[in-house]
């Protein structure tokens, strides 16, 4: 018989039943007829026929049991029964489902973030074929345009090659800046990746050539906000950094470029850099910013690809040596070679800074779910004890033990499926919240959080696993019930002694241990975060506005631009509400850095890295505005800056490293570029160390040069404005002042404290979430302990009554219960400490100023756990002590 037939049987049990019925009826009537023919009365014959046949229902059932899908029927019955028994105890069911929803939901949320950031492939044509070009190590993956052009023109060894560079563009002309995330792409980019336009056309090879026209492709979001819709965007123009671009198409909304975490609103052809940044930018051999993806020909092995890249490299690097490199550097440059790495999931800065944190969080929520599982297992155990009678009756009337286990497991599975369904809803909300947490004023994080097969599979697997974890022990125990004993004992659950409680107790110990580990972890992360926010950064960030001004569109050049910048400084200082004003090229913790080799008399560098100093260009009054202390000498003066006098201010770390104990004032330093030495600059002042790139860095040797001296031009300038009132009261006046000075200046306003907070996004996220989950773990463990102790007290009512009747004092009873709880807690703490010592080193890279086994943090965690758990045990202990022995014994 074919399986289709069997499948058919499974879904037509009624027809099968009816046929069997008729067949048996026929048999019985034939038999009766035969007996009647032998002389029996018809009714007696019918009876006799039935008697001889035996158990007709059993025969029928047995025949039916042969349906391949007969078990489906009993499964449905199990589910119906489980639903009924869960409905009968709604309190238990809702507590279990809600805690599972939370546990599974938290796991799903973190996993869907991990999925979106790390696991998921780019939504492009055959992402698995793509490889990323790099030089030696996977992180060394940015290239200059001259390098890219040579790779592109030698593309024959590959099926395709594309270049991509994330960027951001200002969409307004003058006034407040409106920044849109964008990307530079090579002409072949969209065709090679198979990305379609939803309106107009995508950029193509003919759009990307030297001297190209300004064309742009925009996202649906930009098309909507700027032009009112995708179709109306085509043929319009969009201003970007003061230049006008023609919109030729709107990109498929599922595509988000090659960098996971960003969502470009504008794509521009690589050649248009020339229009935006000047004629020689495409030939710059020291601007490293392009990512290159290759698609090897079908059937090319990674080794073959590597060999091809290695043979290409020498020619390409020899043709692109930066002219300003020192001879030694040029030799080093020529030695570079290409390597390739899988790139199916694209590139991502967000990924490199957050993947370790996500794995930590994944472990944390996994442990929380385990603790929640232990609680539910405990509840189920208590429930199984209460249901002993029911189970005994079912066993007594013939249920198989396997059947009972299956039925109880169905109940557990049902709980976790409900939990998972709610959990997915919770996760959708929570993962969005988390992504919001990753974003800041200056960086909008975008991740595709749609729930895909992988996330669903994960949730399903977690749900099944949890059901097995918390359901197996109670089900196994229930199957051990001895019907006679259970029925005789009148459902009092006094039948089996201590062995039964062992599972419950071990669960409590495990809960205490795991929650201690989580509390210790979160203690470390919270402690690190506290250190980060309370350390002295060398500046006072509260009350400082950061106003970034762009002077490019004013069309002014040096020295007129510097004059305007100086005038603005003066005028801002006279603004009501403004206490101090400074200006600088770089703002601390603003994701920008500048370093150079320096030469100082009497300082011999042991290696090239040893002679590096970080740099900034600042105005007079910068240190005052930032609240950075002057340690020795004096600040630069406005007239010095205007006259371009070669002076410098250095920080204490610079003095310590380069100058030692000698008096730094009056000494000179020179910038070393390639083989040439810069002009000597006189050190006029020393300031306290201030954080430069991040709060957790060691003090960096820093040199402050006067504004508009040194390599980077100052088309953009940051003004630091210390104010003594609410920002909202000052910002409009500042905007008006700037616009009045020159309407072509565009400006962005932010708060310095916001920038500092943004730099702490990761430690804050870790501290907040681990603190939250640590507290939750503690709460769950305490509930577990409380439940177990209360249950034990109830179970031992009679025994306690007897003890008291025989003269035990209330304190003794209390001590007995507390002693039991204390043993569990102590055991849990011992195991927990071991787990913590073994596991906290995995978070050591996330810690600041604390070691992974910081004794103080561990001590606090242990005390906290002991106190909270002890308090939870007090309630049942007190209740035991209040027991009236007469009441307890009368029940016997």
């Amino acid at each position: 018989m074919s399986w289709i037939h069997r499948l058919g049987n499974a879904f037509r049990p009624n027809r099968l039943d009816a046929e069997l019925q008729r067949e048996l009826d026929f048999h019985l009537s034939e038999k009766a007829e035969e007996l009647a023919a032998k002389g029996m009365s018809p009714s007696a014959a019918r009876l006799e026929a039935r008697k001889r046949f035996g158990n007709r229902t059993l025969a029928q059932e047995e025949a039916r049991g042969m349906n391949l899908f007969g078990w489906l029927d009993s499964l449905l019955a199990d589910v119906r029964y489980a639903m009924r028994s869960l409905r009968a105890s709604p309190g238990f069911a809702s507590v279990a489902v809600l805690s599972l929803a939370f546990g599974i939901g938290a796991n799903t949320a973190i996993f869907s973030l991990t999925n979106a950031l790390i696991l998921r492939s780019l939504p492009v044509n055959h992402p698995e074929q793509l490889v990323k070009l790099a030089m030696g190590s996977p992180d060394n993956d940015t290239f200059t345009n001259p390098l890219w052009e040579r790779v592109r023109d030698n593309v024959a060894p590959f099926a395709g090659a594309v270049a991509y560079a994330p960027s951001g563009f200002n969409m307004s002309k003058g006034g407040l800046v409106r920044r849109v995330p964008g990307a530079w792409v090579s002409g072949d980019f969209f065709r090679e990746l198979g990305v379609q336009a939803v309106a107009g056309r995508m950029l193509q090879v003919s759009d990307d050539h030297r001297g190209c026209a300004p064309t742009a492709v925009v996202s649906e979001g930009v098309a909507q906000s700027e032009f009112g819709g995708a179709s109306s965007a085509i043929g319009k123009t969009i201003p970007l950094e003061g230049k006008t671009f023609d919109v030729v198409g709107v990109v498929d909304p599922r595509f988000f470029g090659l960098e996971v975490g960003r969502y470009p609103g504008v794509y521009l052809p690589q050649c248009a850099q020339q229009l935006m940044y000047g004629h020689d930018v495409l030939d710059a051999r020291s601007r490293w910013y392009l990512n290159i993806l290759l698609r090897p020909h079908a059937g090319v092995t990674p080794e073959q690809l590597d060999a091809r890249l290695k043979s290409l490299a020498p020619g390409i690097f020899a043709a692109t040596v930066p002219a300003n490199f020192a001879v030694g550097q040029q030799v080093e440059y020529r030695k570079n070679t290409f390597s390739s790495y899988p790139a199916s999931n694209g590139m991502s800065q967000l990924r490199s800074s957050y993947s370790a944190a996500l794995y930590i969080l994944m472990a944390v929520v996994g442990v929380v779910l385990l603790i929640a599982c232990a609680n539910i297992a405990n509840l189920l155990l208590a429930r199984a004890a209460a249901r002993q009678r029911e189970i005994a009756i079912r066993l007594a009337i013939g249920a198989g033990r396997g059947r009972i286990v299956r039925q109880l497991l169905t109940e557990s599975l049902l709980l976790s499926i409900f939990g998972a369904a709610l959990g997915v809803l919770f996760a959708r909300w929570a993962s969005r919240l988390l992504v919001g947490y990753l974003s800041s004023d200056t960086r909008t994080v975008w991740l595709d959080l749609s729930i895909d097969g992988r996330v669903l599979g994960f949730t399903l697997a977690v749900a099944t696993l949890t059901a097995t974890i918390f359901g197996l022990a109670p089900a196994w125990r229930a199957s051990k019930v001895q019907p006679q004993a259970a029925l005789k004992s009148g459902g009092r659950g006094m039948t089996d002694g201590d062995a039964k409680q062992r599972v419950g107790r071990s669960l409590v110990v495990a809960q205490v241990a795991l929650s201690l580990a989580l509390v210790a972890c979160s203690g470390l992360l919270l402690g690190s975060f506290r250190k980060l926010i309370t350390l002295d950064p060398g500046f006072r960030s509260e009350g400082v506005l950061l106003v970034n001004m762009h002077f490019k569109d004013t069309g002014l050049e040096e020295p007129a631009r510097a004059v305007l910048q100086g005038q603005l400084l003066e005028r801002l200082r006279h603004q009501p509400g403004v206490v101090a004003v400074g200006a600088s090229l770089i703002t601390p913790l603003g994701n920008m850095g500048w370093n150079e080799s320096v030469a100082v008399a009497d300082f011999g560098a042991s290696n090239p890295r040893d002679s590096v100093s970080y740099f900034n260009q600042v105005s007079d009054g910068y240190f005052a505005a930032m609240g950075t202390r002057l340690v020795a000498g004096r600040d630069m003066r406005a007239d010095e800056i205007a006259a371009k006098r070669p002076v410098a201010v250095v920080n204490e770390a610079f003095v310590k490293h380069f100058l030692g104990r000698t008096n730094p004032i009056g000494r000179t330093l020179r910038i070393v570029t390639g083989d040439s030495l810069g002009i000597p600059r006189e050190i006029v002042g020393v300031v306290a160390d201030a954080k430069y790139q991040s709060l957790d860095e060691k003090p960096l040797e820093t040199t402050y040069l006067p504004l508009n001296q040194g390599d980077p031009g100052l088309e953009d300038l940051n003004y630091e404005i210390r104010i003594d009132r609410d920002a909202a009261a000052v910002v409009p006046a500042i905007r008006a002042l700037v616009t009045e000075a020159n309407p072509a200046i565009s400006l962005e306003v932010a708060t310095f404290s916001g920038q500092v907070a943004a730099s702490l996004a990761r430690p804050r996220l870790l501290a907040t979430l681990s603190g939250f989950f640590g507290a939750l773990a503690l709460l769950l463990a305490v509930i577990g302990l409380y439940g177990t102790m209360s249950y034990n007290v109830t179970r031992r009512r009679n025994e306690i009554g007897v003890r008291m009747a025989l003269g035990a004092a209330r304190q003794q009873v209390m001590r007995m219960v507390l002693g039991e709880a204390g043993r569990l807690i102590a055991l849990g703490i011992v195991f927990g400490a071991l787990i913590s010592f073994a596991s906290t080193r995995f978070i050591s890279s996330m810690l600041f100023g604390l070691s992974a086994t910081e004794p103080a943090v561990f001590g606090i965690a242990v005390v906290l756990l002991a106190v909270v758990a002890g308090a939870a045990a007090l309630v049942p202990a007190w209740r035991a002590a209040q027991l009236d022995p007469m009441d307890a014994l009368r029940e016997e």
Partner: protein
């Protein structure tokens, strides 16, 4: 008399049914019991409660095939016939049975 009747050995019911159907063509369940009882001179008794489950199992395994038909008394009944697979199974079972019987009788006679 009932005492001398032998309940059919576990597993031999299928053999008997197959043999009956192969020699007598298509039969309904009742006729199968009749044939086995009469053919064995009332020595064997078919447990009716296990016949129908056995028939269903065999038709699921494809050894026999059931079809509704009309008896000579003009009543509806399900008639079973042996299939090609059933014939093959019958040959194997017969062989196995003969060897078993031979072995058992050897022991009974000479041991």
């Amino acid at each position: 008399m009932a005492r001398s009747k032998t309940d059919i050995l576990q597993g031999t019911l299928a053999l008997l049914v197959l043999r009956t159907l192969s020699s007598r063509g298509s039969l309904h369940g009742y006729a199968i019991t009749q044939h086995i009882q009469r053919g064995s001179n009332e020595l064997l008794r078919v447990e009716e409660g296990s016949l129908y489950p056995a028939l269903h199992r065999m038709s699921q395994d494809g050894l026999i095939k059931g079809k509704w038909g009309i008896t000579d008394k003009n009543r509806e009944a399900r008639f079973y016939a042996i299939t090609a697979a059933g014939k093959k199974a019958l040959a194997e079972e017969e062989d196995a049975w003969r060897r078993l019987a031979q072995g058992v009788s050897l022991i009974l006679n000479f041991a």
